[in-house]
Amino acid sequence: MENILEIRNLCKKYKEFELQDVNITLPKGMIMGFIGENGAGKTTTIKAILDIIRNYTGEIKVFGYDNRKDNKKIKEDIGAVLDDMFFPEILTPNDINNIMKDIYKNWDSELYFKYLNDFGLPKTKQIKTFSKGMRKKLEIATAISHHPKLLILDEPTAGLDPIARNEVIDIFQSFIQNEECSIFLSSHITTDLEHIADYITFINSGKIILSKTREELLEDFGIVKCSKEEFEKIDKKDFIKYKKSKYEYDILVENKKDFYKKYGINTIDRITLEELMVLMIKGEE
């Protein structure tokens, strides 16, 4: 399968934070959800992919091209929604259309205005009069109106109400219908990712700690609920993390079926991405 995005050994040092050997592979036609707590390195990784930050080591390839050397070639086919980075707010959606049609070869004014209509966004009002949700919808409409092959989205659903979030997710899903297109998105709203992501990559303190298909994560991984006595009998190699609550132990296991076969404990729940995040970050080894 052809890869649309490949990150190899990405390292970036700041005074108080470091990205360490980040490796990510996104195959064509797939959606990758990029999760992690605030300050884990999601935005830094996205900024490196987009060449917004430069002094890093490692290799980033988009569509098989180096993201710095072949900048122009790859940027025509990337659409980006970034957290708090956009056009100056004194401009209007009409201005954006006027500007973008001279920036992207494939800019589709008709499609852009269709999205504005669908989202109920005014065309002639300055962006500064927009609510946070309206602004986000405008950012999304702008990112996808030049028919990109890769969408890079940093928290695209943050600030949207549930209805708008659904609209946006529908757009992402119809975008991905074209098998040439892929999405790399970071989000705190893990339930959105459970619906749309094919792959989940989890970053914590600048390191990738997990990268699996959604099926692997949601079908194979599980939370075992057990008593202290049962917990003490379990081999440490057979679980990833655990959390002790008042009456029971929550244990994160990589394979529910194997665990059940070995220990016979049948109080194993399916895991949600939110539970996975909490256990991976707050749990003990």
Binding site: R54, L82, P88
Partner: protein, 210 residues
């Protein structure tokens, strides 16, 4: 490239009302002989362009621009080209208004004097913008604005100090000597200043971590 220039020009257009009102007030003052209109050229051009830098910084446009094809190169180039377009338009407007004011007040047009003053203002405008843009890209609009004030203040203080010690007549003699070449020489200096400034800004921007 054109898209990036349009972005700066559309931003200027959005704020044009404020500057139009300012222009009207100054024109009224110029009619009453309270001030020379040529002073407006550096003042307005620098103010207008600095406001675009401030809006860019506020919405982190620079980082967003990098996500576009050739965003790093085109963003800086467009800022300088938009500046040249703006200065050209402002110069034409102010020249025409100055000629009208001169004719209305005196029934004659002191062409040489007006063009000379406006050319001087144009030189000051280009000098200021050439100095301030690399600072804008390096330090951001807030710090660069303080830098601009410092430059203007320093020029005033140093100029005021030197004027007591320099034999002005020798400078005037020298300017007379190069007389007919004056405009050509200063025009070339302006182009060189702006070009060097552009190259420095681009170098800063190409390496910049947004």
């Amino acid at each position: 490239m054109l898209g990036f220039i349009k972005k700066d020009l559309l931003m200027i257009k959005s704020n044009i009302k404020i500057f139009a009102v300012l222009l009207l007030i100054y024109v009224a003052m110029a009619f009453q002989g309270q001030m020379d209109l040529s002073f407006l050229l550096p003042f307005m051009s620098v103010m207008i362009m600095m406001s675009t830098f401030s809006y860019d910084a506020f919405n982190k446009w620079d980082a967003y621009a990098v996500t576009m094809p050739n965003g790093r190169k085109n963003s800086v180039r467009a800022k300088y080209l938009a500046t040249i377009i703006l200065i050209s338009i402002t110069t034409i407007i102010i020249t025409v208004l100055s000629l009208i004011i001169s004719y209305t007040k005196n029934n004659t047009i002191d062409f040489e004097n007006i063009i000379g003053t406006i050319f001087g203002s144009l030189f000051a405008t280009i000098l200021l913008q050439s100095l301030i843009y690399p600072a804008m890209y390096k330090f951001g609009p807030e710090k660069a604005r303080i830098g601009l004030m410092t430059i203007i203040f320093s020029i005033a203080v140093i100029g005021g100090f030197l004027i007591n010690y320099i034999d002005l007549s020798s400078i005037i003699k020298m300017l007379d000597f190069i007389g007919e070449y004056l405009i050509i020489i200063f025009s070339m200096v302006m182009i060189i200043m702006l070009y060097i400034s552009y190259k420095i800004s681009q170098k800063i921007y190409l390496k910049k971590e947004m």
